[in-house]
Symmetry: C2
Subunit: 336 residues, 2 copies
């Protein structure tokens, strides 16, 4: 595992689409104590609401690394970011990246890091020698968050449920499957970077045999109905062998992010299809309820929607960020 | 993509087990014109029935590359093969391998290839910079073979259908997704070696836009209901956007190969689930029929089974290796 250079300066690139900044938001919300500030470049409009600091200022306040807090389409290191990344190295910060593109593959960054004695850490590198999945049922309990799309709350839901289970005195581990989760929890497997023949095997490795009352809460990825990422989602579902699914959705999202020609599958279809496919490796799989991201609604509208969706689906429906009795009911249903 | 040095000398190593020589047999059966001969070493007893030639003799008859035609347990390059492989390089042949083990990782081969100006080509390495799938519908017609399990005829079915479509005067390309298919057709993408986030994108790259009456016949991989390999199958299904599926099954196989605890899904469930998932990227997807591997049956029993399965499923059911009117009916249904 990596020894990460916290605390961090969170870099937002030149991002104008908030959905691409979920790494920055995740670090702010779940690892705030490790973030001294944020920084961006060019025409960036997105902010995580952290103090805005240059690399030199961040270094003065104790930062040891600059973390790339954006995940654009394809996971590329933009040419327009390079001067900022070089400035961070010059200011004494290591660089931490979780994109598909590797910091270590950028010659100018590598040369500068070598000259300055700084580290380039790519967390989106899966462990070596992942085995092919065996399909053997493992001991312990497992919960997997799945979704109707990308970037709508699967990681937040898993982190919230992990915290809630721990508060109830249960033995529980959060199992990170993406770069932000890994940066937050300090471990995990970047499932989308695993070679597809070993995808289910990586999920088996991620949540090994455990005591019978122990819970692994596994961060979901993508969606089984996403035209780009379903391979990741299905390998993770098969290898995780979840006992419990929580289906994540964003209120009002009607089409896949970045794909206006692809309507979202309904919550019901997402539940039914995940149960059907997941049953292959765990016949006892069940859906405990729905995590509904209501961030764009006011409090009253959100509570009303949670209640009406719960009646319609006959399942607990909660927004983990809002918490409240709805969320406790969802936790109850997970443990039922 | 590679420019493969055909025609080939097919290397059988010191193999005594015919099951390990599937690549050599596939080349003989489907790319006979690209094979000038075969060669082996040590105590080999397996033959593909090609003229036996030394590398020097093969070079004189026009061979440009030696292809490793065996896939032993573990996909290793045997130490006992190295002198033969060095002799091939000395004789002016490039080396082509599709094993898990890479020719380029063997220092003695790399040194000899550099000294002699020869190439070492590992076809089980996906192309660089595969894009994320867009989900955009492409022009042209596509057929994908899918299966109830691994290793039961998806490649032979796709090759047979490619040949049949060509015989009917249609413009058609076979699209290889595994190492043997790639060696046969001289191109393709090893889908099981692609990083999962790019699996559907690789399938999109494999069968690009084409004239409206052109067919791509795409070799399937794994099975959507396989606990180890479903990620490969689903990414290939989504990215291929097939108009037509042909479901492949082996008569009498009741459990997944190597997984006696996993019953095979029925042909009907395999059809239904592939249609349902494939509809996401091509709403017009349909199943044309079933390719039934009857190699273990005698001719009469095979014909009876094809007929009774066709009545039961209300679909054309054929064994492409046996051909006959059943197979022509399956081809008709693909084109309907």
């Amino acid at each position: 595992m990596w020894e990460l250079p916290a605390p961090y300066l969170v870099f937002l690139g030149d991002t104008t689409e908030p959905a691409f900044a979920k790494t920055a938001f995740g670090l702010r919300d779940w690892a705030r104590e490790r973030c001294v500030g944020e920084w961006s470049c060019g025409a960036a409009t997105v902010t995580a609401g952290l103090p805005v600091l240059t690399p030199a200022q961040a270094r003065d306040r104790g930062a040891r690394g600059l973390v790339i807090g954006v995940a654009n389409f394809g996971g590329v290191i933009q040419e327009s970011w390079i001067p900022s990344l070089l400035e961070a190295l010059e200011s004494g910060l290591d660089l931490v990246g979780g994109l598909h593109a590797k910091l270590n593959d950028v010659a100018r960054l590598r040369a500068a890091a070598e000259r300055l004695g700084r580290r380039l850490i790519d967390v989106r590198v899966p462990p070596a020698r992942i085995p092919v999945a065996t399909g053997r049922k493992r001991t312990g309990k497992r919960l997997l968050t799945v979704g109707t799309d990308c970037a709508l709350g699967k990681k937040y839901t898993a982190l919230s449920l992990t915290r809630a289970l721990a508060e109830r005195g249960l033995e529980v581990d959060f199992r990170a499957t993406g770069q932000t989760g890994i940066l937050i929890s300090g471990r995990g497997i970047p499932m989308d970077a695993v070679v597809s023949d070993f995808e289910a095997g990586a999920a088996e490795t991620l949540s090994p045999d455990a005591p019978s009352q122990h819970w692994d809460v596994i961060e979901g990825q993508g969606s089984i109905l996403h035209p780009s990422y379903a391979a990741v989602s299905l390998g993770l579902l098969h290898g995780s062998q979840p006992d419990v699914l929580v289906v994540c959705h964003e209120a009002g999202r009607t089409h896949l992010l970045g794909h206006p020609e692809y309507p979202l599958a309904s919550i019901e279809e997402t539940i039914e299809l995940n149960i059907r496919l997941g049953r292959r490796t765990n016949p006892a799989i069940r859906c405990a309820g729905v995590s509904l991201n209501t961030a764009k609604l006011d409090g009253t509208a959100a509570r009303e929607l949670l209640a009406s969706e719960s009646r319609r689906l006959r399942l607990p429906v909660a927004d983990p960020i809002r918490g409240g009795p709805e969320f406790q009911a969802l936790v109850d249903a997970c443990l039922a």
